[in-house]
C-alpha cells in the first residue's frame, strides 16, 4: 500500500490522460454490464412489482393463459372449502393517448368481493364503502394519485379513453393514495367494475384471472392441489411470484443478447488494461530497476503492479457502476416499450433501481477483469533485469514476441472447438468460447504474420515510414495484439449482429411476400401485437357484408402454455388459409395437412416451435385447455415467424371448442378484384367505427410495422456495437501511446537523421492504419464464426428460427473506410505527441 502511494500515485498524476484511458477500459466494460442488466432487471422487476401489488393479499391466482375462462369458473372456485375469498379480475393495458403519459393499466374487479384481497386506500371520502354505487354506475373509475396528479384530474373529473365501443367518458369517483396497489405499473393504474371492463375490452362473459385468499388454516400447497384437481389441466394455479417468473421465460433471447454484449465489453476492457499496464511498465523500467537494485524482490514488484491493477479495477468499476446505473435508467423505458411490443408483456418502468447483487457482481467482475488485464504486464515487470534497466543504452524488450506453447494451446483449443460442434447446449457454446480464446491466444502471431504480409504494401506506399510502421508491428506483436484483439472482438460482434439482421430481414421479407397477403387488417388495437382489446365474433360477419370485401378471416392469437412454457396459438379458418396463403412446409405435404387441420383433426406447428421443443410431424401436441388436457396430432411443420416462442396453427372451430373463447384479436380482409381500398376502408369506419374501437392497417403498413419492430430490436444491438467500437478506439490510442513510448528513441533518430515532422506523423498514421486493418481482417474472420454461432444459438435455444448464413459483405466493405478513418483519428494525438517530444531527451532515452 505504501509503495502504491509512494510510486504509483505520482505516476498517475503525471499521466492523467493515460490513467483516464486505462480507467475507461474498465468503466465502459462495467457500465455496459451494469446498464444492460439494470435495464433488463428494471423492466422485469417492474413487471413483478405490478403483479405483486395487484395481487394484494391473494396467495394464489387462477388463470388459463391469455385466453381467459368463462364466468362459471368463479362459482366452482368459490365452492371449494379451502378457498377463503375469490375475486375475479380483468387486466388490460391501454394507451392513454396523452402525451408523455404512456400506458394505463386498467384493473376490472368485482368490488363486492374484492376488498377482502385488495385495499383501496382512497384520498378523501371512501366511495367504495358502498360498492353498489360503484357498480350501479358503469362509467365509474378510480385512479391512482400519481396518474391523477400527472393529468390534473380531480375527484368527479372526466377521463376519455378508447374502448371497444369507441371513445368513452369515464368519471373518476375516487383517487387512490400513492401507496400499495396504486404504485403498480409505475403508478399508471385505474380500477373499474369487472362487468364494465368485460364490455370495454371486448372480453365477452370471460374473466382473465381469479385471485384467491386461503381459508384459515389451509396451506398454499393444499389449496393449489385442490384447485388443480377441481379445474383440470387447462388452468394454471400459481402464486403471484411464480407468475412474475414468466417474464424471464419470454425475454430469454434478450437476456442472451445482453450477456453476450456484456461479456464482449468486459473482454475488450481487459485488453485495454493490459495495454495500459504495458505502457506503464515500459515507461517505468528504470524505476523498477532502481527498486530491484534497492532490494525489492520480484514478488514485491509483482505485488505492487497487481495492487495497481486492483486499485484501477476498484476505481474504474465504481465509476462504471455509477454510469451503468444512469445508462440503465435511460435505457429502461426504451427496453420496456420494446419488450411490450415484441413479447406483449405489460409493464411500466418505475425508475432505475440499484441492486446490491449486481453492484457487488460488477465490482467483482471489474476488479477481476482489471487483474486479468494487469497480470501479464505485472509478471513482465517482476522479470525486469535491474542491470539492463539501469544501464544506459541497454534495451530489454519486455513485450517480446509470442511463443510456441501458446500457438500449440490455441490449435488444441480449435481442435476441441471443432469436436464441440457435434455437441449440444453447454458443450456447443463452450466450443465458441474455445474458438474465440484460441484466436485471442494466437492474435500476436496472426498480427505478426499479417504485418509481414502488409510490409511490402506499406513500403511501396512510403518507403521509410511504411517500413518503420510495419516493422514496429512485426517487432513487438504483443504490444499491438491487445488492441488488435479488442478491435477484432468488437468487429466480430458487429459482423455477427449484421449477419443476423441481414438473415432476419431476408427471411422476414420472403415470408411476408409469400404469406402476408391480406389487403387490409382490421384490429381493435393500435398495434397488431397488442392483445388488450378483442372483437366479438360478430365483427367477422359485419365486415364480410361490406361491399368490396370478398372474404374475411378472423384471427385469434393467444399465448398458451405448452409443457409449462409459453407458445402462441394462432386460430384461424384453415380452410381460408389453404386457399389464400401458400404454405412453406418444412415437414409434411400441404395438400394433406391443410384439409386435416381445417377439419380440426390436428394442428400445424411453426418450424421454430418444432426446433425449440423437439416436436415433429406425427408427434402429439399436448395442450392444457379450459376443457381439459387434449392431445392433438401434429400434421406438419411450416416456416412461420409469428412468434419468438413458437406458434401453432389451429382451426378456429377447434379452438373455440377447446378454449370456449369466441373473441377475435382482429380480422384479415381480402378485397374483391378491382375494389378500392380507400372506399372499403371508409365504409368499414362508417359501419363499425361509430360503435367499435378499430384500426385499419393496409398490407404495406403491416409490413412496415413488422420491419420497424425488427429495426428497434437491432437498433439496441447496434448501440452495443457502437460502444464496442468506442472501446476499440481507446485501444488504438493506447497502443500507439505504448508504441511511441517504446519507439521514442527510434522516432527521434528518424528526426535526427533528417526525417521531417510530417514523415514522423505518417509513420504513426500508417502504423495506426495497419493496426486497424489487421484488427478488421481478423474481426471479419472471427465475425463469420460469431455469426455461425449466433444463428445456431437462435435456432437451438433462443427463438428456434432457422436463418440462412448470409455473410454481410456490404457491411464488411463499409467497415473498411470506417475503421481506417477511426484509426487515423485515434492516431492524431499520439502522432503529435511523437513529433513534439524533445529530440535530445528522446535520443538519451533508455
Amino acid at each position: 500500500m505504501r509503495m502504491l502511494a509512494l510510486l504509483t500515485w505520482p505516476y498517475v498524476r503525471k499521466h492523467r490522460l493515460r490513467s483516464l484511458l486505462t480507467l475507461a477500459g474498465i468503466v465502459i466494460g462495467v457500465a455496459v454490464f451494469v446498464g444492460m442488466h439494470t435495464a433488463n432487471r428494471n423492466v422485469g422487476s417492474a413487471f413483478a412489482r405490478t403483479v405483486d401489488r395487484i395481487a394484494g393479499k391473494a396467495q394464489l391466482q387462477v388463470s388459463a393463459g391469455e385466453t381467459g375462462f368463462p364466468e362459471e369458473t368463479l362459482e366452482k372456485v368459490q365452492s371449494l372449502r379451502e378457498v377463503g375469498a375469490a375475486a375475479p379480475v380483468i387486466e388490460a393495458v391501454l394507451n392513454t393517448g396523452r402525451e408523455g403519459q404512456g400506458n394505463l393499466l386498467v384493473l376490472g374487479v368485482d368490488m363486492t368481493g374484492d376488498r377482502s384481497l385488495r385495499e383501496y386506500d382512497l384520498e378523501d371520502e371512501d366511495v367504495i364503502d358502498d360498492p353498489l354505487i360503484f357498480l350501479a354506475q358503469p362509467d365509474s373509475m378510480i385512479v391512482s394519485k400519481q396518474f391523477a396528479g400527472r393529468n390534473g384530474i380531480e375527484r368527479g373529473g372526466k377521463l376519455k379513453l378508447e374502448t371497444m365501443e369507441g371513445e368513452k367518458e369515464f368519471t373518476v369517483r375516487g383517487i387512490m393514495k400513492a401507496e400499495g396497489l396504486a404504485q403498480a405499473f409505475g403508478g399508471n393504474l385505474a380500477v373499474m367494475d369487472i362487468y364494465a371492463a368485460q364490455l370495454v375490452f371486448g372480453r365477452g362473459r370471460m374473466f382473465d384471472r381469479i385471485d384467491i385468499g386461503l381459508a384459515e388454516g389451509v396451506s398454499v400447497e393444499e389449496c393449489r392441489k385442490k384447485l388443480e384437481a377441481l379445474l383440470g389441466p387447462g388452468f394454471q394455479v400459481e402464486t403471484p411470484s411464480t407468475r412474475s417468473g414468466h417474464f424471464e421465460a419470454v425475454s430469454r433471447a434478450l437476456g442472451i443478447t445482453i450477456n453476450i454484449t456484456s461479456l464482449f465489453a468486459l473482454l475488450i476492457g481487459v485488453f485495454i488494461i493490459y495495454n495500459s499496464f504495458s505502457i506503464a511498465i515500459t515507461e517505468r523500467r528504470s524505476e523498477i530497476g532502481i527498486l530491484r537494485a534497492l532490494g525489492a524482490s520480484r514478488g514485491r514488484v509483482l505485488g505492487m503492479f497487481l495492487g495497481e491493477s486492483l486499485a484501477a479495477g476498484l476505481v474504474g468499476s465504481s465509476i462504471g457502476i455509477w454510469l451503468g446505473l444512469l445508462l440503465g435508467g435511460a435505457m429502461t423505458p426504451v427496453l420496456g416499450t420494446m419488450v411490450q411490443e415484441v413479447y406483449g408483456a405489460p409493464q411500466a418502468g418505475e425508475g432505475s433501481e440499484a441492486q446490491w447483487w449486481l453492484i457487488a457482481a460488477a465490482l467483482g467482475i471489474g476488479m477481476l477483469a482489471s487483474v486479468a488485464g494487469g497480470i501479464l504486464p505485472a509478471r513482465a515487470a517482476a522479470r525486469v533485469d535491474p542491470v539492463k534497466a539501469l544501464q544506459k543504452g541497454q534495451f530489454q524488450v519486455i513485450a517480446a514476441g509470442e511463443n510456441r506453447m501458446r500457438r500449440l494451446v490455441a490449435f488444441a483449443m480449435w481442435a476441441v472447438a471443432l469436436a464441440c460442434l457435434m455437441g449440444e447446449g453447454v458443450t456447443f457454446y463452450a466450443g465458441y468460447l474455445l474458438m474465440v480464446t484460441g484466436v485471442i491466444l494466437l492474435t500476436p502471431a496472426l498480427a505478426g504474420w499479417l504485418a509481414r504480409a502488409l510490409r511490402p504494401a506499406l513500403r511501396w506506399l512510403r518507403p521509410v515510414e511504411g517500413a518503420l510502421a510495419a516493422d514496429s508491428l512485426i517487432q513487438a506483436p504483443r504490444r499491438t495484439s491487445a488492441t488488435v484483439a479488442a478491435l477484432m472482438l468488437s468487429l466480430a460482434l458487429a459482423v455477427g449482429f449484421a449477419g443476423i439482421t441481414r438473415a432476419t430481414y431476408g427471411s422476414l421479407l420472403r415470408w411476408m411476400n409469400d404469406t402476408l397477403n391480406p389487403d387490409l387488417f382490421v384490429w381493435p388495437t393500435e398495434s397488431i401485437t397488442s392483445r388488450t382489446f378483442r372483437f366479438p365474433a360478430s365483427v367477422e360477419k359485419e365486415l364480410s357484408e361490406i361491399e368490396g370485401i370478398e372474404e374475411v378471416q378472423g384471427v385469434r392469437n393467444a399465448r398458451v402454455l405448452i409443457g409449462g412454457l409459453p407458445a402462441m396459438a394462432i386460430s384461424v379458418s384453415i380452410e381460408i388459409s389453404s386457399r389464400r396463403v401458400p404454405v412453406m412446409a418444412v415437414e409434411g405435404d400441404p395438400k394433406e395437412m391443410l384439409p386435416l387441420a381445417a377439419a380440426g383433426k390436428g394442428v400445424i406447428i411453426a418450424d421454430n416451435l418444432s426446433r425449440l421443443r423437439g416436436l415433429h410431424k406425427g408427434d402429439m401436441l399436448e395442450l392444457d385447455t379450459p376443457s381439459g388436457r387434449t392431445r392433438l396430432p401434429i400434421l406438419g411443420v411450416t416456416v412461420d415467424y409469428s412468434d419468438q416462442q413458437g406458434a401453432f396453427l389451429i382451426d378456429r372451430s377447434l379452438y373455440r371448442k377447446l378454449w370456449r373463447d369466441e373473441t377475435l384479436n382482429g380480422c384479415r380482409v381480402y378485397l374483391k378484384p378491382g375494389a378500392s381500398e380507400e372506399k372499403v376502408k371508409a365504409e368499414i369506419v362508417k359501419r363499425l367505427g361509430s360503435h367499435r374501437r378499430l384500426f385499419i392497417f393496409t398490407n404495406e403498413a403491416i409490413r412496415e410495422y413488422i420491419l420497424n419492430i425488427t429495426n428497434q430490436w437491432f437498433g439496441l444491438t447496434y448501440v452495443q456495437v457502437a460502444v464496442a467500437l468506442l472501446v476499440a478506439v481507446l485501444g488504438i490510442v493506447n497502443t500507439l501511446t505504448v508504441s511511441i513510448t517504446d519507439r521514442r528513441r527510434e522516432l527521434a533518430i528518424l528526426q535526427a537523421v533528417g526525417g521531417l515532422r510530417r514523415q514522423v506523423r505518417h509513420t504513426i498514421w500508417l502504423e495506426a492504419a495497419a493496426i486497424g486493418f489487421i484488427g478488421l481482417v481478423l474481426g471479419l474472420a472471427v465475425g463469420a464464426v460469431t455469426l455461425y454461432y449466433n444463428l445456431e444459438m437462435l435456432k437451438r435455444d433462443a427463438i428456434g428460427l432457422l436463418l440462412p448464413f448470409e455473410y454481410p459483405y456490404g457491411f464488411a466493405a463499409a467497415l473498411l473506410p470506417v475503421i481506417l478513418l477511426v484509426s487515423f483519428v485515434a492516431a492524431l494525438w499520439p502522432g503529435e505527441a511523437a513529433v513534439r517530444a524533445s529530440l535530445v531527451e528522446s535520443l538519451e532515452y533508455e
Binding site: P463, D471, S472, R745, A752, G754, G755, L756, Q759, L843
Partner: protein, 193 residues
Amino acid sequence: MVAIVGPSGSGKSTLLNLIGGLDRPSEGEITLDGEKLGNLPDDQLTRVRRDKIGFIFQFFNLLASLSAAENVALPLHLRGWSRGKVRDRAEELLELVGLSQRAEHLPEELSGGERQRVAIARALSVYPPVLLADEPTGNLDSVNGAGILALLHDLHQRLGTTILIVTHDVTVAEGCQRIVTLRDGSIIEDRRL
C-alpha cells in the same frame, strides 16, 4: 578534427546538440554556413541537419528492425531519393566503412565496432560537410575503439569532412588537430596541436 573535452556536466553534449540543431539555444546564436539555426522553423532545421550534418552517437542509435544497408539508406529515403540511387549509395558507404559483406545483417547480429561503422556510414549518407560524434568510442572496447578512431581519421583525410568529437578519452582527443576544453558551460581552453 576538433575534440571537445571536459568533465561530466561541463556541457560537451549540449554544445554538440546545439551545433547539430537537435536542441535550441536559450541564449546566444549558432551559425552554420551563415545561417542562424536558433531562429529556423522546425522543418527547416531538420533540412539543415539532413543536408549538412551527420550524427554519430555513443550508443549507435541504429534501428533494430532494419538491416545494416537499410539503416544506412534511411536518410536517403527521407530525402526522397529513388530506390536505385539509394541502393547504390548505401553499397558505396558500407564499402567505405568496410562492411559490404555485412549489409543484410540486423544490428543485433553485428559487433559493437561494426554497429558504430554502420552508424558512421549512415552519418555520411549525403557526405555532409560536418560530422558530429558524441563519445563514438565510449561504448566500445579498446581494439574496436581504436578501429573506429582510425576510420574517422581516414574519412577526414579522404573526404575532407569536419569532424567534431565529444570525448572523455585523452587518446581520442590527442589524435585531433584542435582540442576545446569546457568547464561549467564555458570554454576554458582552445588548443591547436
